[in-house]
Amino acid sequence: MKSNQSRRKLNLFLVLLVVWVLVFQFTTIKPAKASSQINLKILVYAKGAALLQPYIQQFEQIYPNIAVNIIEGPHASDAIEDLYTASFILGKTPYDLVYIDSTWVAKFAAAGWLLDLSDRVSSSDLDRFVKIEVEAGKYGGKLYRVPFLSGSAMLFYRQDLLEAAGYQPPKTFEDLITTAIAIQQQGLVDWGYAWQGKQYEGMAAMFVEVLAGYGGFWIDPETETVGLDRPEAIAAVEFLRRAIASGISPPGVTTYTEDESRRLFEAGKVLFLRNWSYVYNLAANSSVGGKFGIEPMVTISGEKGVSCAGGWGLAIAKTSAHPDAAWELIEFLTSDRTQRDYILNTGYQPSLKSVFSEPQVVAKYNYYPQLLAIADRSVLRPGISQYSQASDILQRYLSAAIANKMSPEIAMQKAAAETRRLLQN
């Protein structure tokens, strides 16, 4: 009898405990307080968030009923992508706006996470932007992203060394190799050419440019034709291998990202560097400041090469309760004035064409007109929803080829076959 009683008491206690835990669980997560004040949330990497803050304050002064909450995220762009992805997968994303890289657009749009912005902009509005960055924001003929920053890559070269040895900046892949060998042999510099050969997204972006330089293509997004096993693509891989085999690229280039290759250039150890425009201002303040110039990437024919487009933009989450307010913010951030001020402050690459030639901007960054010419000759990475898989396939086989573990033909044939299988599914 007594044992029964204590058992009941214990049972009661346990039930109460569970109930209490559950109640506690559900009451502490209260829904946000409703008010006439509109709250917009956007996740931006921490440094970018700090740089945006002054313009957000200007925006809030113009629209007193809108408060913008910038959540600071990690620096790596794939970490930001993960955070956005996780928030979308889990259902109600807290974010109204998405600070979005060009390669995520197709996936996010295909998953139904982004709001179609096509009706909110006229084509004349879009003409203000670097054309390729507008293209990067489209999926299935609809616009999902407005460009905020454009991103271009180019060939950095050491002007002083070229002049000392009596050479011109290279125009073709052949030029690049022979010039580098000659200047290395004169003992003017340790290495000829630094690029990004690590197995990661940056390698895919770098390869797109070499591929285009040889007249090849990766995946045609319209027809879904895969061009990786064509002779042009194999020639592109062979160029990269030759750069290592001929001794102009350090063997470790197969492990380099943007940063390692940039440091090599800034330390004055390399003649040519393929990298993004952000390197310009950094290198200008390094030991090679004032000693280098930029050119578009080289090609096989000698005409100007192309850059891989790598800009950032703004999109609106489909689940946002305040799409109109979010749109106001996008319009504000991509207005002429905001862009000019923001670029003057940060030295980033604008998405508005007019800002590249804005007198104040040119006075501060004299290479911007040249940068626009490079940005105007850009190609996109394939705008397909399975882009990350396609990129991983390319990276693995390209990495195998440049690490001499597979011949270029076999590597590219395998990559092409796997990519075709991916696109069929």
Partner: protein
């Protein structure tokens, strides 16, 4: 009556623990298994479509899965066995009494206390071909003429990862073993040496057998951790070169987070889980038999 009642109370007391275990352990795995029977990716507009064991048959023909499984196994076996030997040696040293032992013990555990991602970045620079400390030392010793491209070669990249992991987690093993060593009474050794045993004999006949439970715990912990290694690899090599260091965890992460292929990702999780559980089961069984 009393034993009966005690038993009931005993059971009642562990119910909360069982509930927690069920929620955090059994439910996710059951759910992963359920999800693995569906195709849910961008092709199906992220809607689950029942597809039976299609994800598992797909896995059979997925070369990348098998490669990551091989990479993970090589990494796990190499790092755990080296760590066990080194950890044992360090534990034996730290168990001796000498001046400043407290400080040395604290210092010895530092690598384990540092965040892996940060140390992964540091190790990537240590193995850098141009600026790396490893190449610099080897060059100064006259062992090599030009820098070795550590992270650019599939085999060497794996070696570099194992070295970094050994550095990082050996302290963990030595701390567990040290705790075990301290529970062995000193008199047993004395009696043994009076019987005429030398140091090696007492190590094999006393230390090792009495330390078996701790060795087993250390082994299982490290095995499970190492089989799921993600951060170190992600930071140091990103799975490259040529996918030679990609581990199962990285592949699962890509499949779920980047490819949004949830059904297949779940199938990968289930298979990895079963492999891990069966290894743990077999190891525990062997150890219990050995006793």
């Amino acid at each position: 009556m009393t034993t009966n009642r005690q038993q009931t109370i005993g059971w009642l007391l562990i119910i909360p623990a069982m509930l927690v275990l069920g929620l955090v352990f059994i439910y996710p795995i059951a759910r992963a298994f359920w999800l693995s029977l569906f195709t849910e990716n961008l092709g199906t507009n992220l809607e689950p479509v029942f597809s039976g064991f299609a994800n598992y048959t797909r896995m059979l023909g997925d070369g990348r899965f098998w490669q990551t499984l091989k990479n993970t196994s090589v990494f796990t076996v190499a790092s755990v066995s080296i760590e066990l030997v080194l950890g044992m040696a360090i534990a034996l040293v730290l168990n001796q009494s000498f001046r400043g032992r407290g400080i040395v013990r604290t210092i010895a555990i530092i690598p384990w206390a540092l965040p892996t991602a940060v140390m992964g970045l540091a190790w990537a620079w240590i193995f850098n071909d141009q600026y790396g400390v490893v190449n610099d030392i080897l060059e100064r010793l006259g062992l090599i003429d030009t820098g070795i491209n550590w992270l650019g070669d599939p085999t060497l990249a794996m070696v570099a990862l194992v070295i970094a992991d050994v550095w990082k987690t050996t302290p963990f093993i030595s701390i567990i073993l040290l705790a075990g060593l301290q529970s062995i009474p000193e008199d047993i050794y004395e009696a043994h040496s009076i019987d005429g045993a030398n140091a090696w004999q007492s190590f094999y006949q006393i230390t090792l057998p009495l330390l078996m439970p701790q060795i087993l715990i250390a082994l299982l912990f490290r095995f499970a951790q190492s089989f799921g290694i993600f951060d170190l690899v992600q930071v140091m090599t990103g799975g490259g070169p040529a996918g030679a260091t990609e581990t199962v965890s990285i592949y699962i992460y890509s499949t779920v987070m980047r490819y949004l292929d949830f059904g297949y990702g779940a199938a990968l999780v289930v298979v990895t889980f079963l492999l891990l559980i069966s290894f743990v089961g077999i190891t525990s069984f062997i150890f219990s038999k050995a006793k």
